[in-house]
């Protein structure tokens, strides 16, 4: 049963919007680490990740706005939608938690992004292929950075292994949703334009298997049930609070009132 926010219209726009929202929300979570990291080197690393992700978000959301065809720009999409209009995966909107939770999330998602971007760089849509080919260079670093920290924490001390394991335990419930594939996404994939999320599952499982074994952490079991869908505008409770901070200025001094930033 689909929600009032579900639509099969303009799937090309919806697909690109999802890529943009993933990068935007994860970029915001990494920006929250600035000046709060375990040391200066990690504050610098967090800003690198955040900058890459905001850059990707700007490119995807600019293209999405063009595909939507209502004269919007990337800022309109980023700052004027409510949770029900966002199409990011639930994993990226979860709070950072401690460095163990943050590392677990980034391992899970940077591997997913790497595999997705690898295929998208061969997309039949030249614009998608272009953005993906640029982004995959950055995501290669994201994957290496988070995998290295996964090893340090997994094999470091008993406490760091415990915290990393807790991160995977609490985030694993969001794995199934990474591979949810609505019919319109499958159709786009058949045209070579997009990638069907479920086709990424095998390679992702394989890569996760390797890094988690090497790091000495156990794969949690979950029923794999996805209750709700981001394509229905559904999200966890965390996205709404993130938007309160991110969107305050544009909503308090709307473009329509002549505000310029």
């Amino acid at each position: 049963m689909n929600s009032p926010y579900y639509t099969e219209e303009n799937p090309h726009y919806q697909y690109v919007l999802g890529l943009g929202d993933d990068a935007l929300i994860l970029g915001q979570r990494w920006a929250e680490w600035l000046s709060k990291g375990p040391n200066l080197e990690l504050d610098i690393a967090s800003s690198n990740l955040s900058l890459d992700l905001f850059g990707q978000a700007d490119l995807w959301l600019t293209y999405a706005a063009e595909l939507e065809g209502q004269g919007k720009d990337s800022d309109d999409l980023a700052f004027l939608r409510d949770t029900v209009d966002f199409r990011n995966h639930w994993l990226v909107e979860q709070p950072n938690g401690d460095w163990g939770m943050t590392t677990a999330r980034m391992v899970m998602f940077s591997i997913y992004q790497f595999i997705r971007y690898e295929r998208l760089s061969k997309s039949s849509d030249v614009r998608i292929a272009e953005i993906a080919s640029k982004a995959i260079k950055e995501v290669t670093y994201h994957r290496r950075f988070s995998s290295e920290w996964c090893m340090r924490l997994g094999q470091g001390t008993e406490e760091s292994n415990r915290r990393l394991q807790t991160g995977f335990n609490e985030l694993w419930r969001f794995v199934a949703e990474l591979f949810e594939t609505p019919a319109w996404e499958r159709a786009l994939a058949e045209d070579g334009l997009a990638v069907a999320s479920e086709d990424l599952r095998e390679e992702w499982d394989q890569a996760m298997h390797e890094i988690m074994d090497a790091a000495g952490v156990v794969r949690p079991e979950t029923t794999g049930r996805v209750i709700g869908s981001r394509h229905n505008g559904h999200h966890s409770e965390h996205l709404g609070h993130l938007l309160c901070e991110m969107q305050f200025l544009q909503k308090s001094y709307p473009k329509s009132s002549g505000a310029v930033w």
Binding site: E32, G37, D43, R152, Q155, S160, Y253, A259, W261
Partner: protein, 308 residues
Amino acid sequence: AENEAQFQARIDAEEFIEPKDWMPEGYRKTLVRQMSQHAHSEIVGMLPEGNWVTRAPTLKRKMILVAKIQDEAGHGLYIYSGAETLGTSREQMVDDLHSGKAKYSTIFNYPTMTWADVGAVGWLVDGAAITNQIPLCRCSYGPYARAMIRVCKEESFHQRQGYESLLAMVKGTDAQKKMVQDAFDRLFWPSLMMFGPPDSDQPPSQNMKWKIKRFTNDELRQRFVDATIPQAEFLGLKIPEGVVWNEDTNHYDFPELDWDEFWAVVKGDGVCNDDRLNSRRKAIDEGAWVREAAEAYAEKQKIQQAAE
């Protein structure tokens, strides 16, 4: 004493002193204090800007602010490692910051109340820092001078971006113009205090003799005011009371600064003194297990490689 004379001769000959060279204990101490205070200011300076990074109004401004905060962390790193060449470890310097023993620039104890403050910090605070740091590029201690050359380049880039964001806002709504005027009114005087107490309060400083300091506090402050007021006028801002162009001296006159406020903030009474130190302590304390894990892992790697 013979060393001392030789050392002074090298200074007078504009030579750079390097870590391995002989130096009077006073020279080492004052440099460690100044460089660590400078590094602390870069680190603590990330916090008032970090206060707005999650609320920047556009993606472009967000990325500019993230890049600025990143550079400040980088500057902090260079200057700490520069100071380490004088024999004090970064951990020790950071402990002194957290214990309140070591100071950082008082400007960062003022709150960034609105988004316009972020632009004003870029324009005024980076501006004052650059005015201070240009002469430091020829400071007698080699590692500090070289760090300054790089820092100045990046900071002038950030200063322009800060000013540019205010330029955009003054073309916006009345509410935005008011925000910029208020930010300027509030941060102008504290940024003048960044140059330190007036020369009248200062004994003729050994730092000048050792060419760590090339110009006096008042000389640098005057240079900053003369550069900043025209920029404020270009933004269409009202100029603070008492700041008047002096035809004869070809400088702006400006009233005595409120040094009671300066010393109250140094003492810890600024609105954000506790917020800043608590944030730094929280980051370091909550990161302890992460650093320990990284060390333990590196150890295991070494043992493993040795075994192979």
